[in-house]
Amino acid sequence: MATEQEVRHIAELADVGINTEELATFTHQFNAILDYFDILDRVSGDTAVTRDRYNVMREDEIEPSLPQEEVLRNAAAQEDGFIKAPRVM
């Protein structure tokens, strides 16, 4: 089962953050759900999944792109046509 430590680590991996106040309750509920998922251990069958179709592709044709203003419209910050993002180390 997942420890509070592991739950914190998962929150890190998923970049969703978890407050210290919620950690205990979260971990408890998390584990109850994971417990429930254990029922899948009993599932047996062929690993090959049937797909309805194959080779779904399009021709190499150019289609209009969005105008730059549309691309930038929802961005909180932009500079000279670029979208501004927090720095990468």
């Binding site: 080779n55 399009r58 289609e63």
Partner: protein, 491 residues
Amino acid sequence: MAEEQVIVGLEVHCQLDTKSKLFCGCSTDYRNDAPNTHVCPVCLGLPGAMPVLNKRSIEYAMRVAKALNCSVLPESEFSRKNYFYPDLDKAYQITQYDKPLAEGGYLEIEGDEGGEKRIRITRIHVEEDPGRLVHMGTAERGKYSLVDYNRSGIPLIEIVSEPDMRSPKEARKFLNKLRATLEYLSVFDSEKEGSLRVDANISIKGSERVEVKNISSYKGVEKALLFEITRQKSLLRRGQKVDRETRHYLEARGVTQSSRSKEQEHDYRYFPEPDLRPLHVQSWVDGIVLPELPDARRERFIAQYACSLNHARTLTGELRLANFFEKVVAADPKGLIPLADTWIADTLIGELNYRNMSVDAVDAAGFSELLTLLKQCIITDKSGIEMLRINLDHLMKGEPIEKWDDLIEKHGFKKIIHTITLSSEYAIKNPVHDAIIEVINEHPTAVEDFRKGKKGAFNFLIGQLMKKTRGCADPAELNRLLTEELTKKEA
């Protein structure tokens, strides 16, 4: 001490030369355009947008697979590689994980020990390029990043080699051969900036493997490997261990640097892309007709044009160059081939590299004319080089080129031919003879030295003579005539 064996493997990413992106219809011709102008909901990763696979990208990748002798898998599929980074707008890259397009092939290169060496290919797969980050700001005023998503979604082919290379030189050869092959297949353009990126895996036998990421130039690969091998060897020599890690190559400084440890904790949580359907394209392989590839073209150049092995290698090592050569000699194969061979493989390449120019800038017909002038001994080699340089400089600056005949007139490049059997009228007007007499009169000491048998005196006199005749005279002729004149006097 036994020479420690170097083990190198490469992961090469090349942009496929399709018209539209891998999963959407945005044009791939983004390089000269403003940021974020080749973007749509799909490649911007807007919520609700869905990928649709570009058929040509698979066709191109299969050509590569066939040319590299790989086996195309009966079923291949796309997977999501999940990680966070500002240039990755969906926070996952659509790539291929456990079911790539093809596996198990090889590429033959010239081994370090001579002879052909096979570098095995582990796998080939197709994936999308992320966007491009520009780092801005200063430590004082605050650093931040700017993102341009024009590159996001460009189709990439990833070719992974087995660790079969044993030196930076072999790695460079592998890369050159791979690049040439991809160009011959018309699926890749190496002249597009950033179209090729390499990750290298290096280890010294018995020690840990180090991954060096994001090398983006051909020269960079050899330099990065040399640095890294030296670094590892010196660690081992000092009795230290080589850590298994990921490093980044810093082009400007020519060094590799350890990446932050955050990178190593990546758990990509791969799973099959639910918005795409698997590929059953193994049957397409039979229908693929490969064009003449570098090795075959090299052999043909040797057979058809009597090129030397080295020249043939050089000429066929780049598609543009090989095509240029054949265009140039087409006008007069018998007459021009011997000249074209040397003048393109040795001279032209040197001049182009020096100016960072592509052979595409040179007009094949114009170059043929130059070679014809040389063949007909109307100009000397030296004049030929000067005329070539003048026009290449024009091209580099975007100026119009000058006609060869005009250049000859303007600079007096016409080769002066002297024969003793000509009529006295011509003999009087013979500038070469006059030049020889002048030189002998101007440099009595050197002539004296020559008579005394001093080495170098003759070369000095020839040098003065070349200056006077401004390279317009045939050097062999000058040699002969000067010798005649000097020995005549003696007598």
